[in-house]
């Protein structure tokens, strides 16, 4: 007897043969995994790389900590004073200035009065003297009995008086005035008047400062100086055009060397006064090319490059704008000489950078508040008295913060997408493995009888899916870091003015797209394989893998033979059809997102006007004008209201909640009279909006706690009722309560709400106008961020549907190959056989689709809520009837494609199969 060597495990050889034999199935799963992993990995990598680049660029490109605009350029002492970050002693400076001004005025007016008095005295003295002299001259005449008529006497006096005034009045007055001003009386009078005037000045300045101080909390004890460095960032704002065609408005800066630098994406920086670089995003939108002549106002420049300015990652023209506008707003930079060529409309902006960086957002807010106090007081005391026209700290600058915030929300959407698709793939694997085990039942039984251990077989059957997932993860990640990353980045570049990014290793992407799917596949496959391999070898040999045995054949109604055959096919493949149903549910869920999201956003935007309680809310900068009069409007139906915002903090998200103060007589929001009573309550009663109630599951009688955004201050209120308002997460309370709660003056208010547009309030007093545009901001943001994805996603869904239906119907046909071969032998045509199997599957697909439409929609509603919980605002998921029809047709189209493939598959089943497989 000769012995040989123990061979290498032949099952390893078989593994590759298995994969090659079933390459179509594996390639489908592989492709699906690669595309999913690739896309999500690409998204995470692009997101992380871009966010990291943006974060790094803050230092690298010296992003400002904020900026302000003044009415005129600041002189050196003012700059120095502002940079100190110290508050100026506004009261003292103002008083000194007023005193100085008052003193000269007082002296002038006192002297004037004294002079008048002296003149009067001199005049009287001269008159008396002249009169006496005339009487003296006329006395002899009277003594001689010749009476002098009175009129003659008077004339003589007048003539003599005029002559005397002419000859000696001025000298006499001067002499008398000089005597008067050195008199004690004069000094006392001057001192008295000055004292009174100073008191008046003090009173007025104290009053005025008091108001200013109240508004900006200038006397806040917690103030700490915030030293900064100022950088002039002057700009011109002009119309922009190429040739005759207007391309919008442009804000042009002079050369930036020290702060708010830029990343040059294409071309070169301007080198002479005739050259300019502009924002890349706007250039793309307006189709401006390097070398084009750009007309800025009346001055022409040659475009030499495209850049991404660190302070304009999103092209917001004004920070109050509800949406950015890269179509008609542009930012550019010229050389200093080039800047000087542009005439007019100069904005004196200054960027500031804190000498010491704030540690967190709280400190950043504190720094900003303190710096604003320093800025207000220092500009107030500056010699040129410049007026502050704008102040934006960096953290509140939408042009800087919007893009990263939006990209952050994309990431959470990507996460949901990945989990849904991973679940689909795990499910496909489960079906495939289950079917493979059933098919290999006798082989498994034999191998187990020969002595193969369960472990050996588990390892063998686990190998193929694990190899596929592993290779898919590697290929997917490679594609994620290369192809898909570029696609996602292109989407970002299509929306924002982003810098050149550096691809960075993203552990999060690796974990979510590689580790998690691998673990998921491992666990699901291990569970299914282990569960099945627990059965005894004998049960495998007998193909007895089902735990529940059917004792009798199901009795069928007296239908035609073909119908009954189809029903048998259905009953036989019930588990597979159940899987198919689950698969279609998954696809419908994906389609619900792809079809429903755009329709939801559109519906919300279209119907928001109906949801709003007033078409316009005008929020004022101050309730009083320059003269101290209350700002009013004659707009029909306009009524006062108050508004503020507080944070609602949850574990995962901080929601900005609008808090409204409403008048009792309001026609727009009717609160219960009970709330307006003066009853002493333990807790303030409020209404919450329907959106608030639905989003956070808060109802009447519950208590809510909201917090100040940048202060450690909380408010706890009791919900009196839910107000039917779905356009925002809001709280309503009587205006008096609002003023009391927020420590405001009794009759204070924030602005007016009205159905008609308020046009009679000077724009300088209007801080913001909230219209339907603002309410739909969230919807538009979502639409902008994801709308374009959704159409592609619909196509992806059809492909996913094809793959899932393909994989599942393949199992059904493979399972029935022998029967198919046998019916062929019996004389059935391919068409007849196909109708037996395909019609059955078709009916299952149809019924599954109908049920899945509802299930997908309901599940998506749930997912939608989950998504909305991570975003500000709230609105329901809406699917229009046409959306359901579209979903149905898309999946059915996928089935038709696969049915054609299945028909070919059935045609190819050889008759010999029935003869060879005699089992």
């Amino acid at each position: 007897m000769n012995y040989g060597k123990r061979p290498r495990n032949p099952l390893s050889k078989r593994l590759w043969k298995d994969i090659v034999r079933d390459w179509k199935r594996y390639i489908m799963i592989f492709l699906m995994l690669v595309v999913t992993i690739g896309f999500v990995s690409g998204m995470y990598v692009a997101n992380n790389s871009m966010m990291t680049t943006i974060e790094n660029n803050k230092d690298l490109l010296k992003l400002e900590d904020g900026n302000f605009e003044v009415s005129e350029t600041l002189d050196a002492p003012a700059v120095k004073a502002i940079e100190s970050g110290e508050k100026a002693d506004v009261v003292s400076v103002f008083k000194q200035r007023a005193y100085k001004e008052a003193e000269s005025e007082i002296k002038e007016s006192v002297d004037e009065a004294v002079r008048e008095k002296v003149e009067e005295q001199v005049r009287t003295a001269i008159h008396n003297k002249v009169e006496s002299e005339v009487d003296k001259q006329l006395a002899p005449l009277a003594a001689n009995g010749g009476a002098v008529p009175e009129d003659m006497r008077q004339k003589a006096i007048d003539d003599a008086f005029d002559a005397a005034i002419e000859s000696s009045f001025d000298d006499a007055v001067s002499e008398a005035f000089e005597e008067a001003v050195i008199s004690d009386e004069y000094k006392d009078t001057l001192a008295d008047v000055t004292e009174k005037a100073k008191k008046e000045i003090d009173k007025k300045i104290n009053e005025e400062y008091g108001e200013l101080s109240d508004r900006f909390e200038l006397d806040d004890d917690s103030f700490k100086s915030v030293p900064v460095r100022l950088y002039p960032l002057f700009c011109h704002e002009c119309d922009e055009s190429i040739g005759q065609q207007s391309t919008g408005r442009i804000r042009i800066y002079a050369e930036r060397n020290e702060v708010d630098l830029y990343d040059l994406l294409d071309g070169r920086a301007p080198e002479n006064e005739n050259e300019i670089i502009i924002d890349r995003m706007h250039a793309d939108n307006a189709q401006i090319e390097i070398g084009d002549t750009l007309k800025v106002g009346t001055t022409e420049f040659t475009v030499t490059g495209f850049a991404a300015f660190v302070d304009y990652s999103t092209l917001y023209e004004n920070n109050n704008d509800t949406m950015f506008d890269a179509l008609t707003f542009d930012v550019g930079m010229t050389t200093n000489d080039g800047f000087d060529r542009i005439k007019g409309n100069t904005h004196y902006k200054y960027a500031f950078v804190y000498n010491e960086k704030p540690k967190d957002t709280y400190e950043e807010k504190t720094f900003s508040d303190n710096f604003l106090k320093a800025l207000i007081t220092q500009t107030a005391v500056a010699d040129s008295e410049p007026e502050i026209t704008d102040y934006i700290p960096c953290y509140a600058n939408h042009a800087v913060t919007f893009a990263p915030n939006d990209m952050g929300s994309d990431k959470s959407m990507g996460g949901v997408l990945l989990y849904i698709l991973t679940a689909v793939l795990a499910f496909v694997f489960a079906v495939t493995i289950s079917s493979a085990l059933e098919k290999e039942s006798t082989v498994i039984g034999t191998l187990r009888s020969l002595g193969y251990t369960k472990g050996e077989l588990i390892r063998y059957y686990m190998s193929a899916p694990m190899i596929v997932i592993f290779v898919s993860a590697i290929v997917g990640n490679i594609l994620g870091y290369t192809v898909f990353k570029k696609i996602v980045v292109a989407m970002y570049y299509n929306s924002y003015s982003l810098p050149t990014y550096k691809t960075i290793w993203t552990p999060d992407a690796f974990v979510r797209t590689t580790i998690v799917p691998i673990i998921l596949m491992f666990v699901i496959n291990l569970a299914i394989i282990t569960r099945t391999l627990k059965l005894s070898p004998l049960r495998f040999l007998r193909r007895d893998l089902k735990n529940v045995k059917r004792s009798k054949a199901v009795r069928l109604p007296r239908w035609s033979f073909l119908k009954r055959f189809r029903l048998r096919v259905f009953i036989q493949n019930l588990p597979n059809y159940a899987m198919l149903f689950v698969g279609i549910c998954f696809i419908m869920l994906l389609l619900s997102m792809a079809v429903g999201m755009p329709s939801t956003l559109k519906f919300y935007q279209d119907s928001v006007t109906d949801m709003m309680f007033a078409n316009e809310q005008v929020i004022l900068t101050s309730t009083e004008d320059k003269d101290g009069n209350e700002i009013t409007t004659n707009t029909k139906g306009a009524e006062k209201f108050s508004i503020g915002s507080l944070d609602l903090r949850t574990d995962s998200f901080t929601e900005e909640v609008s808090v409204y103060g409403i008048n009792k007589s309001s026609n727009y929001i009717k609160l219960d009279d009970e709330l307006f009573g003066n009853a002493d309550r333990d807790m303030t009663l409020v209404y919450i909006s329907k959106a608030y109630s639905e989003k956070y599951n808060v109802h009447e009688g519950d208590t809510i706690t909201l917090s100040e955004q940048y202060e450690h201050k909380d408010y706890t209120w009791k919900v009196y009722g839910v107000y039917d308002y779905s356009a925002g997460v809001a709280v309503f309370m009587p205006n008096d309560t609002f003023n009391e709660v927020f420590d405001r003056d009794e009759k204070d208010f924030s602005g007016y709400m009205s159905d008609e547009s308020v046009t009679d309030i000077d724009e300088e007093y209007i801080a913001a106008r909230l219209t339907s545009d603002d309410i739909t901001k969230l919807a538009r943001q979502l639409d902008h961020s994801m709308g374009s994805y959704m159409l592609y996603f619909q196509y992806v869904c059809v492909i996913v549907a094809c793959i899932i239906i393909y994989l599942l119907t393949k199992i059904i046909i493979e399972k029935n190959e022998v029967s198919i071969a046998m019916t062929k032998i019996l004389g059935y045509t391919d068409k007849e056989i196909a109708s037996l199997y395909l019609i059955t599957t078709g009916v299952v697909v149809l019924i599954s689709e109908l049920a899945a439409l509802v299930i997908g929609y309901k599940t998506m509603e749930f997912f939608w809520k989950t998504i909305m919980m991570k975003l500000g605002g709230w609105f329901d998921f809406v699917m229009l009837p046409s959306g359901f029809v579209k979903e149905f047709l898309l999946v059915f189209a996928a089935y038709v494609i696969i049915a054609a493939i299945d028909f070919v598959r059935i045609k190819r089943v050889p008759k010999t199969l029935a003869l060879k497989n005699v089992e």
């Binding site: 040989g4 123990r6 032949p10 009888s449 002595g451 004998l538």
Partner: protein, 235 residues
């Protein structure tokens, strides 16, 4: 020859419960000597396959014991049972259950892999008459050839006991005789104990030991003194 190499004592096996309860084995006692060619004979439903499956450790008895070379099978847990099959048993079924995408040699290697000291595969292929077909896939072989592969797979690890469950059940007369000759040859060359289940009365003539079952009990347990070669069998 070790007369009590395999001892079966009081083996009972029941399937189902209540009305469907069926006693398939009602107390089986016999023993097999080492290297013996034992045939378990009986009609369908007599319990012979159940008995073979219990001997092979892929089914278990309700009561009674099986002692192989002094080891009680009932004492072995599932892991030890697998190890027992791996080390001591070879299995040949009526259906060949070959792995369809492995060729002849590779199918035999699935058995060889289980042994630290397998037989020389090429020599075995020669004995099996499959050397020229060694690279063929199962679907390129006839039923007899497939059964040869299945026998090869079972004996390549040189098991102490070769269990054959109706190995010729799906084969024609000529092919059946060829397979029986092969099993005989293997038994003689490698000295394995062969226990074969069959309902074919003719096969009893080539056995050393004939155990006849009916309705779950042994009707006869005889030593064949007039053993003939497989090639002489007629039915």
């Amino acid at each position: 020859m070790d007369k009590n190499f395999l001892e079966i004592r009081g083996l009972k096996r029941t399937f189902g419960s209540g009305d469907t309860k069926q006693e398939v084995l009602r107390g089986i006692d016999f023993s097999v000597s080492k290297g013996e060619f034992c045939v378990l004979l009986g009609p369908s439903g007599s319990g012979k396959s159940t008995l073979l499956n219990i001997l092979g450790g892929i089914d278990s008895a309700d009561s009674g014991e099986i002692i192989i070379n002094g080891d009680k099978l009932a004492d072995l847990d599932e892991k030890a049972l697998t190890n027992y099959r791996r080390r001591h048993l070879g299995y040949v079924f009526q259906m060949y259950n070959l792995i369809p995408n492995l060729n002849v040699k590779e199918n035999i290697e699935t058995g060889a892999y289980l042994s630290e000291k397998p037989l020389d595969i090429d020599e075995l292929l020669q004995i099996l008459g499959l050397f020229e077909h060694r690279y063929k896939l199962p679907n390129q072989l006839s039923g007899g050839q497939q059964q040869r592969v299945s026998i090869g797979r079972a004996i390549v690890k040189n098991p102490d006991i070769l269990l054959c469950d109706e190995p010729t059940g799906a084969l024609d007369y000529t092919t059946s005789k060829e397979i029986l000759q092969l099993i005989e040859q293997v038994n003689q060359k490698y000295g394995n104990t062969v226990i074969m289940v069959t309902h074919n009365e003719a096969i009893r003539n080539m056995a050393d030991h004939i155990v006849k079952l009916r309705d779950g009990v042994i009707r006869s347990d005889i030593v064949n003194t007039s053993k003939i070669s497989a090639c002489e069998l007629e039915w």
